[in-house]
Symmetry: C2
């Protein structure tokens, strides 16, 4: 009998996919659903970069260079300079989204059976790429009580084995919004140098750092050979659908191997490269507006959440995600209930259960991730929904205080 | 010490990459190089489909559905009907080029260590995807003397083991241009049904079938569950740089697993989908012109080659490639020599040595692949170069005839 592959069976489904039918059913009932579940911003893609595509006079849409158009890579060099990263065009491999950069990184640096350490909660798709590459994810836990700070070095040391080949981090972080400090980045360097590990540094959200300064892996000195930078234009220019990213490394051997994988798939998307090349010409001031907008949203969301009895939401330093601990028994159940059984003023909210972001089973059961990708009014309305929902959710866990007991029961 | 991965080491480099520096050096010397080495057509991308992108009024370039926009998949259903393939939108997974469709197919259907049979010579990048997926390629040889017809069923039977899980074919073929007959496709069905194998059918070149009728794997009856169709718009609309393809299967289990890999990488390129959706609206007559152009080029190229002493070029039934047997000792050496040491009227030709398309080492040493992606004048000039080159190539193998002996020596 025909069989699907074992890795296909192991491949985790999208953690929020199972909620989609419930969201669709809610919409069919006429309920407005606020989507705080996905990192798809509503911020306008800069019109000038879409115009660059509109004005293109290409006659034949040809394969580009497998590493991306040289003209684009040269422009990226100037972009990286503005964020304190000094690289050459030959150290940049343009990829189909950050996703392909992760894949190429895993394929190039890791053997099947190798282990990669990831501070959890983490971007769920790292799991998928690890399964595709036959690599074992070893999570170490960061907790909501520290705002998801980097776990102490000892926690890394405890899980390092001869099979450990890399650490992957994301700062500012998806799903926690945590921004690693310079000291935390230095700690990672210490571990990587001591144990000869690659550091995959996913910096998709660098432009959206609010509290303190963003530290790139490439700001660290003396570990160039260890760094595989994962990048994307998806969030930077609100151009998620372009599917354009980059793998950046000064390790020539890694670059050359990644290039072989890149050659096998011929080239990254061509129209997106035209757009992205124009994006490098945006003035530095371009980021002020989206950044201010995200910051206002964060402040509103965090304030509203922490004002709800039994809710704790650490203030995220970057990206556009927040994790919140809720007084609930089971985040998967709660998120489904929000869509299936709840509405307030004919509105409800779709959230991402945090369980999907932990590698350790059982964690995240009372946490959810919220992406503040909607405007302030919608976020406010969504917070009203969550507030009311927590008042009436039948499996609320927390001991109720006297003040709100009347409302709940 | 940091190590690159074993699969990275095993990953074959692009077979023509090593010739690129020689082509660049030739150009620096002022020599015009005719590129018959790559499948990048010079045919114009239909202006109307580029216009669709130019006219787009999107405000935010969002992630599309992981399987591709539903509107596009629905249009693809109507496209497939025109080529006699009946599928639904839920059986189509839009991918980043045909390349990603191959990857998803391998990941979904094959375990590391599994074997896949490929009639050789074959598209060299199948090797790369096989290495990435940990799959072993088992070549069976088709020969230039039969014009690269499908090897007899017994040849398949000889190499089938319990590890054999699939066959991959490409018709019309890259690199041979061979178009499998209905009977050959039926033979493949017989083997797949008897041994429970998947049939990966790469139909990137279906629009360019000249001699006889193209048979899709989906034209076969009673084996729907076995078929994973690999498709792309690259050649169909001369839009190689768009990076848009599709995996099409009626095997729901395979589709669902491939979908998990698709979800991990979020979505296929968005701008390309706008373009491709417009492409489905091109009138059926659109293909007449490029097809007639390729046919005229094929006829010229094949006629010119076969008129050269000691050269044999079977007439390819489709695609835009031809394989030719030349009176040479070593095709890698010859192709390098063409760029490094030869010119005629200040022109030379870049060809692809056939060795890169064979899985069996030692084969293809006196064969080259020619892609007829240049206009008739250029092809004629390129043929003049090859003709002269064969006259003066120092390691010509064939016994010289009296007529041209004077010219050669």
């Amino acid at each position: 009998m025909l069989q699907i592959s074992e890795r296909g069976r192991e491949m985790p489904p999208s953690p929020i996919r199972k909620l989609v039918p419930y969201a669709e059913a809610a919409k069919k009932k006429g309920i407005k659903v606020f989507h705080l579940n996905i990192g798809q911003p509503d911020i306008e893609t800069p019109p000038s970069i879409l115009d660059a595509v509109r004005k293109t006079d290409i006659r034949v849409l040809e394969y580009s260079h497998s590493a991306g158009n040289e003209s684009y890579r040269k422009k990226l060099v100037t972009y990286y300079k503005t964020v304190g990263i000094n690289v050459t065009a030959d150290e940049i491999l343009v990829t189909t989204g950050g996703s392909e950069a992760i894949m190429f990184g895993f394929f190039s640096c890791l053997n099947p059976g190798d282990e990669i350490i990831i501070p959890e909660p983490f971007y769920a798709n790292y799991n998928g790429f690890a399964v595709a590459a036959g690599v074992k994810v070893v999570p170490i836990t960061s907790t909501i009580d520290t705002g998801f700070a980097l776990p102490p070095i000892q926690d890394f040391e405890k899980v390092i084995t001869p099979k450990t080949k890399a650490i992957i981090i994301c700062s500012p972080n998806n799903p926690t919004g945590y921004l690693y400090s310079r000291q935390e980045m230095e700690d990672l360097k210490t571990i990587c140098l001591k144990h000869d590990l690659y550091l995959f540094s996913d910096e998709a959200y660098r432009e959206f750092s609010y509290s303190g300064e963003y530290t790139s892996a490439f700001h660290l000195t003396g570990m160039d050979e260890h760094i595989v930078l994962i990048d994307t234009i998806s969030k930077r220019y609100s151009a998620c659908g372009a599917r354009l990213g980059a793998l950046v490394t000064k390790n020539k051997e890694v670059y050359d191997v990644a290039m072989k994988f890149a050659q096998a798939r011929l080239s990254p998307p061509g129209l997106a490269q035209i757009m992205a090349e124009a994006a490098v010409d945006l003035p530095a001031s371009y980021f002020n507006k989206p950044k201010a907008e995200y910051l206002a949203r964060r402040d509103l969301l965090v304030k509203r959440l922490n004002a709800m009895p039994g809710v704790f939401c650490p203030n995220p330093g970057g990206a556009f995600y927040a994790m919140a601990r809720l007084p609930i028994d089971d985040s998967d159940k709660f998120c489904q209930w929000l869509l299936e059984s709840f509405s307030y003023q004919n509105q409800t909210v779709m959230l991402a259960p945090a369980t999907g972001f932990y590698g350790t089973s059982g964690l995240g059961k009372n946490e959810v991730r919220l992406a503040y990708v909607l405007n302030l009014n919608d976020i406010n309305d969504a917070m009203n929904c969550i507030e009311k929902a927590l008042e009436v959710y039948p499996d609320r866990t927390e001991v109720k205080t006297m003040e709100n007991a009347g409302v709940i029961l």
